[in-house]
C-alpha cells in the first residue's frame, strides 16, 4: 500500500466507444503516471463502454494532468471520438468498497411494455419505500421490457408489507412485479465454492 502522506486517491469515470485495447490503453496511461488502481468496474452497453476507477497517484500528479493524459488516448485514431473523462479527489470518509451481497438482498423484476418513465417509476417506488437499489440492469425478452434490480431490504422489517405495496404499485402502474429472495437465485443457479 502506498504511503498516504505522499499519495492521493482519485475517483475517475470514463465514457468511450468500446473497442479492442481500450482498457489496456487506460491502464497503461495510469501506470505511466505511477497510478495504482485500487478498484475498478467496467460495463459495456450497446457499443459504449463506461468505467469507474479508484486510483492512487503520487501527490505530484494533479487531477488536470491525469485527465489530460487519459483524454489523449483516442486522439491518434480517426475512427474514435475522444474519451469523456472526469477526475475527482476521492472522499476518504466513504466506506471502502462493499462487494459482498447482504443476506437479505432480494431481486425485484419489473416487466412491462417499453415506455418513457419506466425506470423512473420503478426506482421512484423503491425510493419512496426505503428500498436501496444495489444493482440494476434491463433486458428485453419476448417483446417485453424487464428491469432487474438487486435490492437491499435491511431498512425494512415487514416483507408482507412490502409485497402488499408492490402489488398496489403493480396495479396502478400496469407493471408485472416479482420480488424474490436472492438466496433462491443463488441456490438454483450457482454451485458455490467451498
Amino acid at each position: 500500500m502506498n504511503d498516504t502522506s505522499h499519495h492521493k486517491q482519485y475517483v475517475i469515470t470514463i465514457l468511450s466507444r468500446d473497442r479492442v485495447g481500450i482498457i489496456a490503453d487506460v491502464s497503461g496511461a495510469i501506470s505511466a503516471l505511477e497510478g495504482d488502481i485500487a478498484d475498478l468496474r467496467e460495463s459495456v452497453l450497446r457499443g459504449y463502454l463506461t468505467m469507474i476507477l479508484l486510483v492512487t497517484f503520487p501527490v505530484s500528479q494533479t487531477a488536470e494532468a491525469i485527465r489530460h493524459s487519459l483524454q489523449a488516448i483516442n486522439t491518434q485514431r480517426a475512427d474514435m471520438p475522444p474519451l469523456d473523462v472526469i477526475v475527482r479527489p476521492a472522499d476518504d470518509a466513504l466506506p471502502a468498497g462493499q462487494s459482498s451481497i447482504p443476506d437479505d438482498a432480494y431481486i425485484l423484476t419489473a416487466t412491462g411494455s417499453d415506455r418513457i418513465g419506466f425506470v423512473a417509476s420503478v426506482s421512484g417506488f423503491c425510493a419512496r419505500h426505503n428500498i436501496n437499489i444495489l444493482d440494476l440492469s434491463t433486458a428485453v425478452s419476448e417483446g417485453a421490457y424487464t428491469m432487474i434490480l438487486l435490492v437491499d431490504l435491511s431498512q425494512r422489517s415487514d416483507i408482507a408489507d412490502i409485497r402488499r405495496q408492490l402489488q398496489a404499485f403493480g396495479q396502478e402502474s400496469g407493471l408485472s412485479l416479482v420480488l424474490q429472495h436472492y438466496a433462491i437465485f443463488k441456490t438454483t443457479n450457482e454451485i458455490g465454492m467451498i
Binding site: 431481486i107 423484476t109 424487464t146 432487474i148 416479482v178 424474490q180 429472495h181 433462491i184 437465485f185 438454483t188
Partner: protein, 458 residues
C-alpha cells in the same frame, strides 16, 4: 451478480411453473406419551403434538412468504401407533386415532401419518389390534392416515397379513360408502417402507428417527414439463433422450435446491433438526402439474402405450441424479409418483382405457411408489385385492425397493363409473380388474413368501 437470463428463467420457474414445496412434514416421536390410562395416553399425545407442531403452519407460511415459494402442505408423522399403543384394545386404538385427528386439527395441519404397524415378519398382538382398529379409525377421523408394512427384502412377504388386509380394505371402503370408499384412500400397504417419508398416506416417524425432525417433499412435475417443452421448442438441433434426461436432471436440481433451502429455513426457525428431502415428483390434480403430461412430452401419445415404462424409468433416474447433488440428505421414497386419481393426465388415460392396472404395475417396477390411488369396482372380492397387493409387494421385495398399494374398492360402482374424492385426492374413472376371483386359492394358502436369496447378504 447472477446473469439476467438466469434471473428471468428462475422467476418464470416460480411464477408460471408451479414451483412450490409440496410438503413439510414434522416427524414427532410419541414413544414417551404412554399414560396409565387410555385417556391419559391420548392427553399426552395431544399435548406433545401441540407443543412440537403448534407453530409449524405459521412458520411454513412466514418462510414461504419471505422467499415467495409457498409450502403447500404442512403435515405431521408420528411413531407407529402399534408401538405407542401396544397393549391397548382395538377400540382404545381408535381413541388414539381420534386424539391424533383432534391434535392435527388444533395445529392446523391437513393430515397426520403413523397409524401404522410393521408386520413384514409376523403380526404381534399390538399389530393385530391396530389392523382390527383400521376401519373404525379411518372412518371416524378426517386427517389420520394409516399404513402397514407387510413385506421387505430382508424378511419376505407376510401373506397372512396381506390376506387379512384385503378384507380390511373392503371393510373401510364399505363403511365410508357415502364418500366413495374414501377411508381406503387414507390407507397404504407397503413393502420396504422407509421411516422418514414426508408424503401421505405413507408417512410415519420410525423408531430410528430423532425426537422431532423436519422432512420435506419437493414439487416439480410442472417445472420439469415446462423445462422440457422450452428446450424442445428452442433447441436448434434434434434432441435425443439423453439430452432430455439431462434437462430433467437440471430441473430436478433446481427444484430440490429450492426445497432444501426452504426446508432448512423452516427447521432452523423451529429449532428442529432437518432430516431429508424426498426427491419425488409429486403430481396434483391441477392442470400443468402432472407426471402423465411429462410422459406425453417424452413421446407417447397415449399414457400406457409401449414405451411408457421406459420413459418412467428414465424420468425417475434423472430426477434422482439431479436431486441427489442438490441436497445434503436424500431419503423417503424419492421417485416419480404415478397416483392415478391425483394426476389429471393419468386419470384421463385411465378413463380412455389406454392406461391399465397391469401397465401401472409394470411402471411401478421402475419408479416409486406403487399402485397408488387406484379406484376399482366395489364388487371385487377381498382375495383378489390381496393378490393384487401381493404382486406389487413382490416387485418391491425382489428389487430392493419400496412399493405400495393404495387401492379404493368404490362401493356400488363398476368399471367405467367415476368417483370424486376432492382436493388433492382428485377424481378418476373406476378401473377394471381382470380375472377377478381367480386368485382365491393362492391367497388362502396364507403363510409367508420367503425372503429372496439376495436377502442373505451377511
Amino acid at each position: 451478480m447472477i446473469q439476467a437470463d438466469q434471473i428471468l428463467n428462475t422467476v418464470a420457474m416460480i411464477q408460471r411453473e408451479n414451483l412450490d414445496v409440496r410438503a413439510v412434514t414434522m416427524g414427532i416421536s410419541l414413544l414417551d406419551c404412554r399414560g396409565a390410562t387410555i385417556a391419559e395416553t391420548c392427553g399426552k399425545i395431544r399435548a406433545k403434538i401441540v407443543a412440537c407442531a403448534g407453530s409449524l403452519v405459521a412458520t411454513c407460511d412466514t418462510v414461504g412468504e419471505q422467499y415467495a415459494v409457498p409450502v403447500v402442505n404442512k403435515r405431521i408423522a408420528v411413531t407407529p401407533i402399534s408401538e405407542v399403543g401396544a397393549g391397548y384394545t382395538s377400540s382404545e386404538l381408535v381413541q388414539i386415532a381420534q386424539a391424533l385427528d383432534a391434535a392435527t386439527a388444533e395445529v392446523g395441519c391437513d393430515l397426520i401419518g403413523g397409524f401404522s404397524a410393521n408386520v413384514e415378519s409376523g403380526v404381534s398382538r399390538a399389530d393385530q389390534a391396530l389392523i382390527d382398529a383400521l376401519p373404525a379409525a379411518l372412518v371416524s377421523t378426517q386427517r389420520v392416515c394409516a399404513s402397514i408394512n407387510a413385506a421387505s427384502t430382508r424378511y419376505g412377504l407376510n401373506m397372512d397379513a396381506v390376506a387379512q388386509l384385503g378384507h380390511t380394505i373392503k371393510d373401510m371402503a364399505g363403511r365410508s360408502a357415502d364418500q366413495g370408499g374414501f377411508a381406503a384412500a387414507k390407507f397404504v400397504v407397503f413393502a420396504n417402507q422407509p421411516t422418514d417419508v414426508p408424503f401421505m398416506a405413507g408417512a410415519s416417524h420410525g423408531a430410528n428417527q430423532p425426537e422431532v425432525v423436519i422432512n420435506i417433499g419437493v414439487s416439480g412435475p410442472g417445472v420439469v414439463a415446462r423445462a422440457l417443452e422450452r428446450q424442445l421448442e428452442q433447441s436448434t438441433r434434434p434432441l435425443g433422450l439423453h439430452d432430455l434426461a439431462d434437462i430433467i436432471k437440471r430441473a430436478a436440481f433446481r427444484v430440490t435446491c429450492c426445497g432444501e433451502l426452504i426446508g432448512r429455513q423452516v427447521a432452523d426457525a423451529l429449532n428442529v433438526p432437518f432430516g431429508i428431502v424426498d426427491l419425488s415428483l409429486a403430481p396434483t390434480p391441477n392442470v400443468g402439474d402432472s407426471i402423465g403430461e411429462i410422459l406425453k412430452i417424452l413421446g407417447v401419445d397415449a399414457i400406457g402405450a409401449p414405451g411408457s415404462t421406459a420413459i418412467v424409468a428414465m424420468l425417475n433416474d434423472a430426477v434422482k441424479k439431479g436431486g441427489a447433488f442438490a441436497s445434503q440428505s436424500v431419503g423417503g421414497l424419492s421417485g416419480a409418483f404415478i397416483p392415478v386419481c391425483e394426476d389429471r393426465e393419468l386419470a384421463l388415460a385411465a378413463e380412455a382405457g389406454s392406461l391399465t392396472i397391469e401397465k401401472l404395475e409394470a411402471m411401478t417396477s421402475v419408479c416409486s411408489v406403487g399402485l397408488d390411488m387406484i379406484a376399482v369396482p366395489g364388487s371385487v372380492d377381498a382375495e383378489t385385492l390381496a393378490a393384487l397387493i401381493a404382486d406389487e409387494l413382490a416387485i418391491g421385495m425382489i428389487n430392493h425397493k419400496t412399493t405400495a398399494v393404495r387401492i379404493i374398492p368404490v362401493p356400488g360402482k363398476e368399471a367405467g363409473d367415476t368417483v370424486t374424492f376432492g382436493g388433492l385426492f382428485g377424481a378418476s374413472v373406476i378401473m377394471p380388474i381382470r380375472n377377478v376371483g381367480q386368485s382365491t386359492r393362492f391367497v388362502r394358502f396364507g403363510g409367508k413368501i420367503p425372503a429372496p436369496i439376495h436377502s442373505l447378504r451377511n
